[in-house]
């Protein structure tokens, strides 16, 4: 040792040399690269988090301080029905989405590379086309004078138009389109990692192909199915455009109620209370689910 040990030798293994960091930096342990996060963090805190906090606050301060808004919510059966309807609709959307997504994802694992690319491109179409455009197109398809009913009546199958819109059918039609990719992608990602030899081994051990599929393959897809269901359910809770356009008054979901409270009644406090309920529900679901599923793998479920 040629000289005494210098104090506070830089501990970082950064291969790129940087100016010696100042004392205060060491206190919060942030380096030059980490500092590049500051603009975005500041931006999001101001533009995104601060308004959310203001909204949460407004739910207990507007028009008067206290829990009046939440009391109104609980006391009014109409509002409770909207909340209940939000949950049942989201649940129905989740179930229908899974029923379509599972076989679709399974076919993707069976298909050759070219067909797989086609299937993937098709399922991603909703990602790339405006939700509004697609909802509007569904109105053109499903309304009484729309394509379906014209075709059905033209073929003489029905005498009067079948109501496909302004009811739950219409809502499901519209919402499942949007949520499908969020279920297909995680399920496909999970299926792809399943070792096919396990299924073959089960068949080799005497299981019929169908029971090998149900008893070996399907249980192994559980993480993907769970992640997909959660993402779909959370998404579905917050829908506004599709249920408003394709549903009837009975199908009102909490999103539409929030907009209505702001735009026609100007009841900010109550809208904020509804938003708070929705937000807290979303985060609770995420918090509970993240204990069981590694959601980070699936949130950006793009392959």
């Amino acid at each position: 040792m040629s000289s005494a040990v210098r104090e506070g030798a830089p501990a970082g293994a950064l291969p790129v040399r940087r100016e010696s960091s100042r004392q205060w930096r060491r206190m919060v342990r942030i380096d030059g690269w980490g500092a590049l996060l500051l603009p975005l963090v500041a931006f999001l805190l101001l533009v995104f988090v601060a308004p959310l906090v203001m909204t949460l606050a407004k739910s207990v301060t507007d028009p008067t301080p206290g829990l009046q808004n939440y009391r109104d919510l609980v006391a009014n059966p109409l509002y409770l029905r909207v909340l209940a309807n939000t949950f049942t609709t989201a649940l129905a959307v989740t179930v229908v989405t899974l029923l379509l997504a599972f076989p679709y994802a399974y076919l993707m694992t069976l298909a050759g590379p070219r067909w797989r690319a086609v299937l993937l491109a098709v399922v991603l179409v909703p990602f790339w086309t405006s939700l509004l455009v697609r909802s509007f197109a569904l109105v053109l398809l499903l309304r009484d004078s729309g394509v379906f009913n014209t075709a059905l009546m033209g073929a003489g199958l029905v005498d009067a138009p079948v109501p496909l819109i302004r009811n739950l059918t219409g809502v499901l039609f519209g919402m499942v389109q949007v949520t499908l990719p969020f279920a297909v992608l995680p399920i496909y990602a999970t299926m792809r990692t399943i070792d096919r030899r396990l299924v073959q081994a089960a068949e080799g051990l005497g299981a019929r192909p169908s029971s090998a599929f149900w008893r070996v393959f399907v249980p192994l897809t559980a993480p993907g199915v769970a992640a997909g269901s959660l993402l779909v359910f959370i998404q579905a809770l917050g829908f506004y455009i599709t249920p408003t356009l394709l549903g009837g008054p009975k199908n009102m979901m909490v999103g539409e109620l929030i907009v209505q409270q702001v735009s026609s009644v100007l009841n900010f406090g109550f809208a904020a209370a509804l938003a708070t309920v929705l937000l807290v529900t979303t985060f609770l679901l995420l918090a509970v689910a993240s204990r069981f599923v590694d959601l980070r793998r699936y949130v950006m479920g793009r392959p």
């Binding site: 590049l36 509004l132 004078s145 929030i258």
Partner: protein, 278 residues
């Protein structure tokens, strides 16, 4: 035999699913050329009258220019913020790592209705509702996670020895970033930018809260055209909007193809050096 049946059944189901996903898009375009004032499919007689009504109506044109302006500005802003943040996330040492990561992806998890209500409440006080600035701020927040996530995954596979090499060859930190790091991760930055543009271009819910007589985006104008009674112009605008999205993709794809072509056909001559700017 059963296997074939299962496969056939699956394929049929997938076909139905595929049609279900594509059908709306396929219906809108022909409908938009309808000659009647009541949209029908198949259209009775072809005309471009609804395209004409789009072009002639100043409220549509204003909305179009607002949307274009907002989408371009917010994708530029989210690319700048997102690239910086991705560098920080991947290379930085900073406190509250999981909290910061959660904050960066939060805008794509929180329902847009809540975001819309919140910024409406906040911006009302600041006078930012019905302004381009307000719209750009929110759309940047909504789009920036896509940029940050895309670029972060690009950076994660970036070989940092390239930067050391550049420095040993005389490039300072700034030149190294702009001449080596950025060009190498350009594909993920571009992908992020496309995501950001489309996020803003298609976004309705938050925009509804921030729009009004003074300013509204194209999707909001469309919304008011379908909300109560259907304005056939919406079909024309929908078709154009799809075209814009397809155009962005086609443009990006064509640029990539062109670059590859140029690369392949570049004569292996030093003479090239004189013209080439690294």
């Amino acid at each position: 035999m059963t296997r074939l049946l299962v496969r056939g059944g699956l394929s049929a189901l997938a076909l139905v699913t595929g049609i279900y996903l594509l059908l709306p898009v396929l219906v809108v375009v022909p409908t938009s050329f309808s000659a009647s004032s009541f949209l029908k499919f198949p259209p009775e007689g072809l005309s471009t009258r609804w395209y004409q009504s789009f072009v002639d109506d100043p409220s549509w044109m204003d909305a179009l220019s607002t949307s274009a302006r907002v989408a371009v500005l917010s994708s530029v802003c989210s690319v700048v913020l997102g690239v910086l943040a991705a560098l920080g996330l991947v290379r930085g040492r900073f406190p509250f790592r999981s909290g910061v990561t959660a904050l960066v992806v939060a805008p794509i998890i929180v329902p847009y209705v809540i975001v819309g209500l919140s910024v409406y409440i906040a911006f009302l006080r600041l006078g930012l509702t019905q302004t381009t600035v307000g719209m750009v701020l929110v759309h940047t927040a909504l789009a920036v996670p896509y940029v940050a996530i895309n670029v972060a995954s690009g950076l994660a596979t970036f070989d940092r020895r390239l930067e050391l090499a550049a420095m040993s060859l005389g490039a300072g930190p700034v030149a190294t970033f702009f001449r080596i790091t950025l060009p190498v991760i350009a594909p993920s930055v571009l992908a992020g930018a496309v995501f950001a543009f489309i996020t803003s271009w298609d976004e309705v819910v938050v925009a509804i809260f921030l729009s009004g007589p003074d300013l509204s985006t194209l999707p909001v104008r469309m919304w008011s055209g379908v909300r109560v009674q259907i304005d056939p112009t919406v079909a024309a605008v929908s078709s154009l909007s799809l075209l814009a999205t397809v155009g962005v993709f086609a443009g990006v794809g064509a640029a990539a193809l062109a670059r590859r072509w140029v690369r392949r056909h570049r004569a292996p001559l030093i003479v090239d050096l004189q013209g080439a700017t690294s």
